[in-house]
């Protein structure tokens, strides 16, 4: 990396930070006092705006750099991730988008608590939502640190630490001063930048191969060092049966987890009606889908233009594949246009990290202030302004995320995203689906489903090869692993659904048919929605 890249990238990123601070100060000057404003941005975003914001919330740096890099290294197997990421949106569209908008207020716990006993449900769902968000947040923070270090060439530990602190401080400022309105606009701007950048690179790749996809694929296979096998599955997940089962487990977590991610579900509260929630999901599917197709082209393009060996030499996991591709497409190292393209890609990756962590921090602060804090308030205690609590919670979450990120910066945290999706699929999704569709569902069922799914997912990971028993484990010297898979979803998702069913069947109190009638009618008609 030459000095030019770094200076230009820093300038561009500085401009983006200035723009986001501008947005935050503009909307922060308004009325941020009410929960409607802080958690839902006033509920006045249009379907298209919210669709862009959802894409901005969902597409992380890993999906931009990581997936393309995996494709550049392993060919077809890199694609499998992005397909799961997209198909998951059908679950969101069919089962949650409209119904959550109609029944919910701000958080996932609102939907479930509206027909069950409030305190235990808020405590359980708030806890699991917080766990999901924190896992995801730490993964993003560590990723942000590595990304900055990698792209600015300062591989020293200090650069990474400062990058994490800076990202954490920025996200806290955006969330606590700007609330949902600022977060949403930052995500919209980021999604537009990300899609524009990806589109430009894709067009350049296709121009390089004269629009001939066949030639692109053949050239990719040729320069990958694997030949034809590069275009078929098996290079990455084609190991023993454990590795294959592990992939199926991950696929299950990806497809079912998205519908239980707190920061995605709370995005539906920012539009006025269920119809707008549905249309924003359709927008999101269009944007996420076209983005995924483009990253596949970029991944194969990087293999064809840069070559898998050069990608691997630059970074073992392939995270620099897209920046290197941009450099080559612009005319190679040393050329002005190459330098500019490279810097643009790097700063888009920064913007991506910033928008995603802001969305997750807001979800964390909502879980703490709106769910957990409310569930422990004693009746008759002096009601404190919930938004004030949420602002403080955002600062606390930021601090915790920075500390955890610094502690975990040298560990292999790739499993954290898979774990976050697994917990969302095994704890949040069963509780949500049962409360929307099962008349006899009870409070005990909800609490058991959440704790059963959450506990089993976390325990299975603790006793998996991720933590102990192999050279890549978190504690390499030990071996107490009992469970062979790295991703627990294959076992924990059925356990979550089963414990919800069992808890309901073993309840002392019967299900409340009146409350369910209200939930059902509200979910499908929007009667009485806020």
């Amino acid at each position: 990396m030459s000095g030019d890249h770094q200076v230009l990238a820093l300038l561009l990123f500085g401009a983006f930070i200035a723009a986001t601070l501008c947005i935050t100060s503009r909307v922060g000057r308004g009325k941020q006092g009410s929960p409607e404003e802080f958690y839902a941005g006033g509920r006045q975003f249009s379907a298209m705006e919210n669709g862009f914001a959802i894409a901005g919330d969902y597409l992380s740096a890993a999906s931009f750099l990581g997936i393309s890099g995996a494709i550049a290294l392993f060919g077809y197997d890199g694609m499998l991730y992005s397909i799961g990421f997209l198909v998951a949106w059908l679950v969101v569209l069919f089962f949650t988008a409209e119904l959550v908008r109609n029944c919910g207020r701000f958080t996932l716990a609102d939907v479930i608590a509206s027909r069950l006993r409030e305190r235990p449900v808020r405590r359980a769902v708030g806890t699991s939502s917080l766990v999901v968000s924190l896992l995801y947040l730490v993964a993003q923070m560590v990723g942000a640190g590595s990304l900055v270090a990698l792209l600015l060439g300062g591989t020293s530990g200090q650069t990474r630490c400062w990058a994490m602190v800076a990202v954490g401080a920025l996200m806290v400022i955006h969330v606590s001063f700007g609330g949902m309105r600022a977060t949403t606009w930052i995500q919209i701007v980021k999604a537009a930048l990300l899609l524009a950048g990806t589109l430009a690179l894709t067009v350049l790749v296709l121009i390089r191969f004269h629009g001939d996809v066949n030639a692109l694929l053949n050239s990719a296979a040729e320069h990958s060092g694997h030949g034809r096998a590069f275009l078929a599955p098996g290079l990455h997940y084609g190991g023993n049966w454990t590795a294959r089962l592990d992939f199926i487990s991950l696929a299950l977590a990806l497809v079912l987890g998205t519908a239980g991610l707190p920061h995605i579900l709370s995005r539906f509260s920012t539009v006025p009606t269920a119809r707008a929630a549905r249309r924003s999901t359709v927008w999101a599917i269009g944007l996420v889908g076209s983005f995924s197709v483009m990253t596949i082209v970029l991944g194969f393009g990087a293999a064809a233009v840069v070559g898998s060996d050069r990608v691997r030499a630059a970074h073992a996991a392939g995270n620099t594949a897209v920046p290197l591709l941009a450099l080559d497409l612009g005319g190679g190292a040393g050329s002005t246009s190459g330098t500019v393209l490279f810097a643009v890609v790097v700063s888009i990756a920064f913007a991506t990290v910033l928008a995603v962590v802001a969305g997750i921090t807001l979800a964390c602060s909502a879980s703490i202030a709106h769910d957990l804090h409310r569930s422990v308030q004693r009746p008759g205690s002096r009601p404190r302004s919930e938004v004030a609590v949420a602002r403080v919670a955002a600062v606390g979450v930021g601090a915790v995320a920075i500390v955890l990120g610094l502690l975990a910066r040298d560990l292999n945290v790739a499993f954290l995203v898979g774990l976050a999706f697994a917990v969302a699929a095994s704890a949040n999704l069963p509780a949500l689906v049962y409360s929307l569709f099962w008349r006899d569902f009870t409070t005990r069922g909800a609490v058991w489903a959440v704790y059963g799914g959450l506990g089993s997912a976390v325990l299975l990971v603790v006793f998996s090869p991720v933590v102990s028993g192999s050279a890549e484990s978190l504690v390499p010297g030990w071996d107490f692993h009992l469970f062979p898979l790295q991703n627990p979803a294959l076992v924990s998702v059925p356990l979550g659904f089963m414990s919800g069913w069992l808890g309901t069947r073993l309840s002392v109190e019967p299900g409340d048919a009146d409350a369910y009638a209200e939930t059902e009618v509200r979910a499908l008609t929007g009667a009485g929605s806020v």
Partner: protein
């Protein structure tokens, strides 16, 4: 829970009592309702469903058009201290609507589309995933030029996702939206007609029905 019991019990019996479930669930709904107490007037029925925001043909929704009149300081009501008594009528309205033919039809249409479609795409996705990890030989078979079975199947996943999205959105727009909107007004009007319990909040008179939330 018995409807007659617990209506008043809600405000006197502590959390966790034998019938706490429904009571506190309702308290929560009331607390929400209560916290929105000064968010501006609820649109009157006379405005009719013809009003549209942003040209979307959306119904007026209670809570102020553009979030005006929001309370600057949230008076959050701790759970378990309901200051309202839910009128039994609200529950009755929801039960009536739930049993009504119009709602049954909306629900049937929703479930008839979503059920089979969800089963189909989940089977198709997991079938694809299982085939990828178990039958690499079949997947590597070339079809057209550089495209093999695996690449085509992957592209087909994208295509079916887009098609199902489009089909769902069209189905909902054609067969559910209008009926759901009418039902929303039905609930609103009936609950309005039942407006019996008065909510006294900061000296302002509010309707005490579920539809005002």
């Amino acid at each position: 829970m018995e409807k007659q019991a617990g209506q008043w019990a809600a405000s006197v019996r502590p959390e966790g009592a034998w019938d706490g479930a429904a009571a506190s669930g309702r308290i929560d709904r009331l607390a929400r309702h209560d916290s929105r107490a000064d968010e501006g007037p609820v649109p009157s029925i006379e405005t009719g469903p013809g009003i549209s925001f942003r040209g979307e043909g959306e119904p007026p929704y209670p809570g102020g058009l553009f979030g005006w009149n929001q309370p600057l300081v949230q008076a959050s009501v701790p759970p378990g201290s309901a200051r309202l008594v839910d009128s039994p009528s609200t529950v009755d309205v929801y039960r009536e609507v739930q049993r009504g033919a119009a709602f049954q039809q909306v629900r049937r249409r929703y479930r008839r589309f979503v059920g089979p479609a969800a089963v189909a795409f989940l089977l198709w996705y997991f079938g694809y995933v299982v085939a990828v990890v178990t039958a690499p030989g079949l997947m590597a078979r070339p079809v057209i030029g550089a495209l093999n079975v695996a690449l085509l199947a992957g592209l087909a996943q994208f295509l079916t996702t887009f098609l199902l999205t489009w089909a769902y959105a069209g189905h909902a727009r054609r067969y559910r939206d209008r009926a759901a909107l009418e039902l929303r007004w039905t609930v609103y009007e009936r609950a309005g007609a039942h407006r019996s319990a008065a909510a006294v909040h900061d000296g302002s008179h509010r309707m005490g029905s579920g539809a005002g939330r």
